[in-house]
Amino acid sequence: MEFATNLTFSAFCQQFLVGLSRTTILFIVSSGLSLVLGVLRIPNVAHGSLYMLGAFLAYSIATAFGGGSTGFWLALVLAPLCVALISLVVERGLFCRLYDREHLMLLLFTFAFMLLARDLVKLAWGSDYRSLSAPSMLQGSFSVLGMPFPRYNLFLLIIGPLVALGLWFLTNKTKIGKISRAAAVDREMVAAVGINVSWVFAFVFVIGCFLAGLGGALVAPTQNITQGMDHSLIMEAFLIVIIGGLGNMWGALLGALIFGLTDSLGILVWPQFAIVFPYVAVVIVLIFRPKGLLKATW
């Protein structure tokens, strides 16, 4: 067991960049979770299933359109929209009747939904591994300080800030965004001024689920699209939301950064125990900042 034999400056930079692109996916998915948790107070364990669904839909859409570049770009747009549509139906049909229940009952409900989604995905797509190719302009890699850096990861690095900006604009500059932020803090108050809180919640829920689907579609070209994708991600997303501060979008970004970087830099420093680093980071954060790093909405 050699220790840190490969700790050079260029490798460090490299790993840092890669950690950042990993952060992007984590951020997109967990900001959606954070929105739903912060505004609606639903601990949505089915969020990971929507992410998985996004990846599978992206695969199917891309294949339906020939699998080339057009297929990919269409999939990237359509898959999250499909996920959003599904979530709208589920929200209006089922969730909206449950908002006054105990949080744990909502957790139970989303758990049931997760089981449902898992089996439906299995029924719809079968058990083979699926793989989606990135468009040719994003394939391959270029050199950063003598190390290869995949083009697709660069693409992720551009998308991440764009999504963050878009979200910031949505929550801070638009009317509906402001209303939903207000609803997160005090829903009775918002209802009292004559706003239909139920539809505000539906809007937020759909945006959150859209982000999960987007994360799934974005991650599809980098990995195996398979059942069980939901599993590994959902726990990480929850921890990110918690350390960042519930409902705080910048918190989700910060949490995702901590997660992505501890993971990828941990590998460089101490590969044998990289698996525990993110958990240790969460424990440390919560011991010193029990309510997360940034201001939570509740």
Binding site: R101, L104, M105, L108, F109, A112, L116, Y279, P290
Partner: protein, 319 residues
């Protein structure tokens, strides 16, 4: 659970079921005896979780850790040391309890979701340790074929031990819930600030609650080894924690025996439906959704409400 006559009814019901469970091996085939034992173990685990979840209002998100540690303690005592197995049986719950207190010391300052997530992270660290420490815990392959004492090596033997220990554990837990401590504990659940205000040391009570819940989870853990003769890291994984949480909610988390019923329903569903289809989780999901819409108090909570439309209902709704 307020007046004295209710107590006695519960105790009588418990006694009735003890007699019932004693007779089971005479009428059931081998598989169903094993199956009953499995339900009891899972039910005990869920009940121990509900001690802090339903009665303490703590979001215990990673309860399975204590179960797994109890099981591993017994397994390692038997396979790695020359101590008699009974030492392992005693040590399992104690170690689980100690771990619960240690983790509790870090977590209890936080409330609700934050408490749950911190516990989840700490528990995952323990899981990672068990999962990775090949030379000691057997890593992800686990330890199988643990040589158990002869009294529990047969299915009937392990069933009786499980049934007796589970019965005793339930009795003790029931007594704790109805003791002065239990009442304060429930008061903390209903209103931590006011409890603090009238001079209750909330943190200490919650720690004691953790110790108790961890202890009985450890008991369930050693019973699991008794029934299955194997340990493996899945026992400490967060998915199991989520499952037992679901059992509590399903059965009724404000009732004492609800989690037991929830465990019975879940284990039965997966075994019986699993015989017909690999999509039993789909059936479970649909059943769960129906339950949430129509029986929000859990199955046993619903039964109690229908059978006895007492003032207790009003109190519940107030929360």
């Amino acid at each position: 659970m307020s007046d004295n006559s209710t107590h006695w009814k519960w105790i009588a019901a418990a006694l009735g079921s003890i007699v019932l469970f004693f007779c089971l091996p005479f009428v059931l085939s081998r598989f169903y005896i094993y199956f009953a034992a499995l339900i009891l173990v899972t039910g005990l685990l869920a009940t121990s979780l509900n001690m802090v979840l339903g009665f303490g209002g703590m979001y215990q998100f990673h309860h399975a850790v204590f179960y797994g540690i109890g099981a591993y303690t017994l397994a390692l005592t038997i396979t790695k040391t020359n101590l008699p197995p009974i030492v392992g049986y005693l040590l399992g719950p104690v170690v689980a309890s100690v771990l619960a207190v240690l983790m509790g010391l870090v977590c209890v300052r936080l409330s609700k979701l934050y408490f749950g997530m911190l516990q989840l992270s700490l528990g995952s660290l323990v899981w990672a340790l068990v999962f990775r420490w090949y030379s000691f815990t057997g890593g992800d392959d686990g330890i199988h074929g643990i040589p158990l004492p002869s009294i529990v090596s047969s299915i009937t033997g392990s069933y009786y031990v499980t049934a007796i220990v589970t019965g005793l554990a339930l009795l003790v837990m029931f007594m704790i819930i109805n003791s002065p401590f239990g009442r304060i504990f429930q008061a903390i659940r209903d209103n931590p600030e006011r409890s603090e205000g009238i001079g209750v040391n909330v943190t200490r009570h919650q720690l004691v609650g953790q110790a108790i819940a961890g202890f009985f989870a450890g008991v369930a853990g050693v019973l699991f080894v008794t029934v299955e003769g194997s340990v493996f890291p899945d026992l400490l994984f967060w998915t199991l924690s989520l499952e037992i949480l679901i059992m509590c909610l399903l059965g009724g988390w404000f009732t004492f025996l609800g989690p037991m019923l929830g465990a019975a329903i879940m284990v039965t569903l997966r075994t019986v439906v699993g015989v017909y289809t690999e999509y039993w989780t789909l059936v479970l999901a649909i059943v769960l959704m129906f339950l949430i819409f129509f029986l929000p108090q859990g199955v046993l909570g619903y039964i109690i409400e229908t059978v006895r439309p007492h003032p207790a209902r009003g109190q519940r709704e107030e929360r």
